[in-house]
């Protein structure tokens, strides 16, 4: 078995790893493609509830008081100046002027058999309410997008740490042989950019593979360098030539595992070239499925394609797919500082695809062991920013939801205060959410460690608590 501990410093040679592994080059080359040289020491630590996860990242901060956390007092006190402790003002000046209460812009109703509250902002998601486990008492670190986005993905606002997906790939390895284990669809270059799917000090093989990038239409997005610039007989002859040269070089150094690993990686790349385009291409999907996701040239078309691709990647054995609804700006998508009604624009783009993904996974029998996680880096304030028509960032209390993967369906956990500002009952810190997600996937967040710079690091640093009440 591989050790999970790689000595601090440098892996100068894979030979040492091979010697420790006690297995032939095949296993290492195999791992080298995506799973990596250092899979978890002994498989999952805990009973697994889920095998894979899709994270629907709503960048910028969806307002909890306009979506999943109804607060009648916001309506009854609408317009009043009240003494909220505004976190941004406090962080910068230590003082907080009174703020104007702002009522929700969308009407809340009880939905489904569970009676879960969802507002009219998300009519389609409202239709899957009975599948959702809404956490209304999440709180996190970071008041600005950069720090909070990094905290969401890496569990640290500033320190350079591996991303959640990299930890998963490191801890669980991959389930397939032709595709990476961790994919991020259309990630942003901003607010931490590649660090949000990076490995930091974990071995580079656990790096998330981006498909497309923010701003590039989903239909034009692909895995880099997947398509050969040449086709036909010349390309075929070239593959034969490379095999011949490789064989000659291997014959000159019999038993050189590193050299053989390079050859095997090349063979795997060739398999990716043949398999991945089929996974990325939705041509085989029915008209009904395309319509379900809103892939019709309308406002939901782009995110619909991303959500559909997430399902296809999961079916092909990708462990963790992050679907990004974002852009490259400093104030991404849902960041409505001055214009709350604009939330409707983003809802139109995402509501149908998100609900479709959950429905589609469910009817295919995949929802039981797939976690769908929907959420932002933080929520929004219950009061108007600078007495205007928008809301500022609020890391102190906000909502995310989880569906499938053994989470408790049709359930709302925890509560914020009367105004939806601070999480107050059964609070769940972002570290706790990370610990809980890892636990659902069979990993103990206190044992998923990697030694770097003289100490063992964790996704949850020295914090985190599994919130077992979220499980069914």
């Amino acid at each position: 078995m591989f050790s999970t501990i790689v000595p601090a410093g440098i892996t100068w040679s894979r030979r040492a790893a091979l010697a420790r592994a006690g297995c032939g080059f095949g296993a290492v080359a195999w791992a080298g493609l995506h799973a990596g040289t250092a899979p978890a020491a002994s498989g999952p630590h805990l009973p697994r509830r889920a095998k894979r996860m899709i994270f629907l990242f709503m960048a910028g901060g969806v307002s909890q008081v306009d979506s999943f956390d109804p607060k009648p007092r916001l309506t009854t006190e609408d317009g009043k100046q009240m003494p909220f402790g505004d976190l941004r003002s406090l962080a910068k000046t230590g003082k907080s002027p009174p703020q104007r209460v702002m009522k929700p812009l969308w009407k809340f109703s009880r939905r489904g058999e569970s009676g879960l509250w969802v507002s009219d902002l998300f009519p389609e998601i409202a239709g899957i309410a009975d599948d959702l486990c809404v956490v209304r008492s999440l709180h996190t670190e970071g008041i600005a997008h950069g720090p909070a986005t990094l905290f969401l993905h890496c569990g640290a606002t500033t320190a350079v740490r591996p991303s959640l997906g990299a930890w998963l790939d490191y801890g669980l390895g991959t389930e397939n042989t032709d595709l990476p284990g961790f994919v991020s669809l259309s990630p942003s270059l901003g607010n931490g950019g590649p660090r949000n799917h990076g490995t930091a000090f974990l071995p580079p093989i656990h790096q998330g593979t981006p498909i497309g990038r923010a701003g590039l239409p989903a239909r034009e997005s692909g895995i880099r360098n997947l398509v050969s610039p040449r086709g036909g007989p010349l390309a075929a002859a070239g593959r034969g030539l490379l095999a011949g040269i490789g064989a000659a070089q291997a014959a000159a150094r019999p038993g050189d595992a590193e050299l053989e690993a390079v050859i095997a990686a090349g063979e795997l790349a060739a398999r990716m070239e043949s398999v991945a385009p089929g996974v990325l291409d939705p041509a085989g999907e029915t008209a009904e499925t395309l319509a379900l996701y809103g892939i019709d040239g309308g406002p939901a078309d782009n995110f619909g394609r991303q959500c559909l691709l997430a399902r296809r990647l999961c079916e092909a054995g990708v462990r963790f797919v992050q679907v990004n609804y974002t852009d490259n700006s400093n104030n991404p998508a849902w960041d409505q500082h001055s214009d709350m009604p604009k939330h409707a624009l983003h809802a139109r783009a995402t509501d149908r695809p998100v609900a479709a993904l959950v429905r589609d996974l469910k009817r295919r029998g995949l929802l039981d062991d797939t976690i769908v996680w929907w959420g932002s880096e933080f929520g929004r304030t219950p009061y108007a920013q600078e007495n205007g028509t928008g809301r500022d960032h609020n890391p102190a209390g906000f909502s995310v939801w989880l569906a499938g993967g053994g989470f408790r369906a049709g359930h709302a956990h925890g509560a914020t205060d009367d105004f939806g500002h601070h999480a107050v009952v059964d609070r769940v810190h972002m570290h706790d959410l990370h610990a809980t997600l890892l636990a659902a996937l069979g990993l103990d967040h206190t044992r998923l460690t990697f030694r770097h710079a003289g100490r063992d690091h964790r996704l949850t640093d020295v914090a985190g608590r599994v919130e077992g009440r979220l499980f069914a």
Partner: protein, 812 residues
């Protein structure tokens, strides 16, 4: 205390408890523990009836012995809250408004929100407030462990005294070069140290590598580029006559090549976490960072002694203040940019936290780079394994807390410091004249504008004042364009009021502990004499650079050894602590450190000494011979990302060897805080053909090749590259337009430079892997040419197949 015990009736319960015992917690029947003191304890019945059950139900899950003791605060003893945790005493008896515990349960701004799993009911909060107001009577005794362990079972690290005897910190030994049985094998004293160990282990060294292998190895190691076939031929011919002379001449030639500075400078830039944008949250363009990069390359090429290389990077601004030569002033200021290059989150809203995060990043980088120690651990607690305490950390932190790295730090998005650079006298005097004129005009403009504003309404539309304003604006506009913007550098400066800083308990910025004097960690047993009014950076830098400082000397010579041989004598090149690996050849390490000092602490003689050694010149051992860590052969290594890119461009005849200068297109004219600066990073097209060290080093956007081939983490100091084997590398070499185009250019060159197919084949292999094709490779290539024809595109495919083959990426 004036309260009497007349109304107290809890004696039965109290009498049954044992002083100092741990409470078992049953709300309603609360067994109390109290100190066996002479005075009878006095208890407010409110405590037993309401406060104790409340504590038990809502607080003691985290704030009691046998738990992790969150924040260091115990609430199961009177002394627990009286002494308090990380944030100081939790309760001030009689003063609820000054009691942190009360503020915390009210969830007041600026206080922790307790309990974290849900606020107490208002009536419960009132109970606590009333109890505190009445004097917070608490009968529970027992004493708090004065030094609670942070984590249960955590090992104690080394003491400073033990640390001084640890191999990496102990004074440099003065080892004698060992005698060996076969002195003819030796070329430099290094070989005696290596051979003695090999002989003792009964292991024979490898023979000298074949000359065409050796010339490729030395060239890649020293300048990061392959030799041309002609350079290779010349070396092979000389080597046949005089092997030692050929190696010596080649090394001297390459050390004099500016490309040596580009190669070894790149190693240093990895350590300096060099980048041209901040990355992190809102990435900002470091448009002046290239000057630091160029300073490093120039310093390596000039072969500055190590102290003169180290001091400017840590205290160049202080040197500049003393210097008179404008060139020296500029160079020193630029070098101090080392401290400002970190991946800082300039939009962090808690500005005290931001300042501290920067200090922490500087300490971590300095620790790893110069000392091979992870000092960062001690931000929160004493080092678990190394002889470093939290006080040591804050002694160093005070030096950097006395240094200004941030500019406009209270802005929503803060900025790093920039300092103007000296200009040639002629430009400087013109600028002075212009600046004076601009100041004059600006003042006049203010006056004229006021005149216009104060004029009674209805005055003539074109008053003399308005005409004058137009003239002023026109002249200001013209003056603004007369000279290019004043060149600036990322630099730091000493704070106007430097001083010591306080320990931050558990690393939390707001939790101030005792103030510790600035200075070196105790383990180094050296007092820094920091003059009043100075930060202490100069004194710290001088100590790090000094030949008398054993640890930093061992670290740097080990790095040079590792850069040349593929593994350090201490394999964990960035970790010289107890959790790192010990040196395989401790005597050699110390001998090298002493030798380094004898030769002026210069890099080039050290490199020469190592490369001329038999040890370095050995062939790679066959896979059947295990590596025992004794240097019984050279290690087979990978080319790094830059060598792959630069080598391909060189083979294609396209490499632009221009040295230095700003290389980010469009960055010269832009303000770094402008959002357009991000557009430059996000939209950047990496299409230059300069050496990779000059490729824009954005943190949020890396060239595909660098990502695929394990470029160092651009966010942290790193002394070595990983070597992964992943499918994306194969996909890159097979399909990336950069490789495809480069291989077409190599093919065109091969076809132009040779006529017959077998000659072209030889040429292609020599350009790309530095050797003739083997019989097996030749036969595969001939088969291919028969099937694919000898058209240009077939040759491009052939060249690309060589590039995709394992040997292209390995260095023997």
């Amino acid at each position: 205390m004036a309260v009497t015990g007349a109304w107290w009736s809890g004696s039965a319960t109290v009498a049954g408890a044992i002083a100092g015992g741990v409470l078992s917690l049953f709300p309603g029947s609360f067994p109390l523990a109290f100190a066996a003191e002479s005075e009878p304890a006095v208890v407010d019945p409110g405590f037993t009836e309401s406060i104790a059950p409340l504590l038990a139900a809502r607080c003691l899950g985290c704030h009691a012995a046998d738990e992790e003791i969150s924040g260091g605060l115990r609430l199961d003893l009177r002394d627990g809250w009286a002494q308090g945790g990380d944030s100081g005493p939790a309760i001030v008896p009689g003063e609820p408004e000054q009691s942190l515990l009360v503020r915390a349960i009210r969830w007041e701004a600026g206080a922790p929100q307790m309990p974290p799993d849900g606020k107490l009911a208002p009536e419960e909060i009132e109970l606590v407030e009333a109890w505190v107001r009445r004097g917070a009577h608490d009968p529970r005794g027992g004493s708090v462990d004065p030094r609670p362990r942070l984590l249960p079972g955590q090992a104690e690290g080394m003491t400073a005294a033990e640390g001084r005897r640890f191999w990496s910190v102990a004074p440099l030994a003065d080892p004698t070069t060992p005698d060996v049985a076969d002195p003819t094998w030796n070329r430099t004293p290094i070989d005696r140290f290596i051979r003695a160990r090999l002989d003792a282990a009964g292991v024979r060294p490898q023979a000298e590598a074949a000359p065409e292998v050796l010339v490729r190895r030395i060239s890649e190691d020293l300048i990061g580029l392959p030799p041309t076939p002609e350079e290779s031929d010349a070396f092979v011919a000389q080597h046949a006559r005089d092997a030692d002379g050929a190696v010596a001449d080649l090394v001297d030639h390459l050390l004099a090549d500016p490309a040596f500075g580009e190669r070894f400078g790149r190693h240093w830039l990895d350590l300096a976490r060099f980048a041209e944008s901040s990355g992190g949250g809102r990435t900002l363009l470091f448009k002046d960072a290239w000057r630091y990069r160029d300073w490093v390359i120039a310093a390596v090429n000039a072969d500055l002694p190590y102290d003169r290389f180290v001091v400017p990077q840590l205290a160049g601004d202080l040197l500049a203040a003393e210097a008179t030569d404008p060139a020296a002033v500029g160079a020193d200021l630029v070098a101090s940019g080392f401290l400002a290059l970190g991946p800082t989150n300039y939009e962090e809203q808690e500005k005290a936290q931001l300042r501290f995060d920067i200090i922490d990043e500087q300490l971590e980088t300095i620790g790893r780079t110069f000392l091979g120690l992870s000092i960062g651990c001690c931000r929160c607690h004493d080092h678990p394994s190394d002889p470093l305490s939290q006080a040591d950390y804050y002694g160093l932190a005070g030096i950097f807390a006395s240094t200004r790295t941030l500019f406009n730090e209270t802005d929503n998005v803060a900025r790093w410091m920039t300092r103007p650079l000296p200009e040639p006298a002629e430009i400087a005097s013109r600028r002075a004249v212009i600046d004076a004129r601009v100041a004059l005009l600006t003042a006049e403009r203010t006056k004229v504008k006021k005149e216009i504003a104060d004029a009674p309404s209805g005055a003539a539309t074109a008053t003399p004042a308005m005409e004058r304003l137009v003239e002023i604006e026109a002249e200001l506009g013209r003056l603004g364009g007369e000279l290019p913007p004043r060149p600036t550098a990322m630099a730091v400066e000493d704070h106007t009021t430097p001083g010591d800083t306080a320990i931050r308990v558990r690393g939390v910025e707001k939790n101030r502990g005792r103030v510790v004097p600035r200075g070196l960690p105790e383990v180094f047993a050296t007092h820094l004499a920091i003059p009043a009014g100075s930060s202490g950076r100069m004194e710290l830098a001088a100590w790090i650079g000094s030949a008398e400082s054993a640890l930093p000397r061992r670290v740097i010579v080990n790095r040079v050894w590792g850069w040349l041989l593929g593994r350090g004598i201490v394999p964990t090149v960035d970790n010289f602590g107890a959790s790192g690996e010990p040196p395989s050849h401790p005597e050699l390490l110390d001998w090298l450190a002493r030798r380094f000092a004898e030769q002026g602490s210069r890099l080039k003689p050290l490199v020469r000494e190592i490369v001329l050694s038999r040890t370095y010149r050995q062939a790679v051992a066959p896979p059947s011979e295990p590596d025992r860590g004794l240097w019984s052969g050279a290690l087979r290594r990978r080319l790094d990302a830059e060598q792959i890119r630069d080598g391909l461009l060189a083979a294609a005849g396209r490499l632009d060897r221009t040295v230095g200068g700003l290389s980010i297109v469009g960055a010269g004219e832009i303000d770094a805080n402008d959002t357009a600066a991000q557009t430059i990073e996000y939209g950047y097209v990496f299409d230059d053909v300069r050496r990779s060290v000059y490729t824009p080093a954005f943190r949020n956007r890396r060239p595909v090749l660098f990502e695929a081939f394990d470029f160092a983490d651009i966010n942290a100091s790193s002394g070595g590259r990983q070597a992964s084997t992943v499918a994306v590398q194969a996909l890159f070499l097979a399909n990336d337009p950069f490789v495809v185009e480069a291989c077409r250019a190599v093919a065109a060159r091969v076809r132009a430079e040779a006529v017959r197919d077998d000659e072209r084949l030889d040429r292609a292999f020599r350009l790309l892997v530095g050797r003739q094709p083997s019989a097996g490779e030749r036969s595969a290539a001939v088969d291919f040419l028969v099937r694919a024809g000898s058209e240009p595109e077939a040759w491009a495919v052939l060249c690309q197949s060589i590039v995709s083959s394992p040997d292209f990426r390995f260095l023997d």
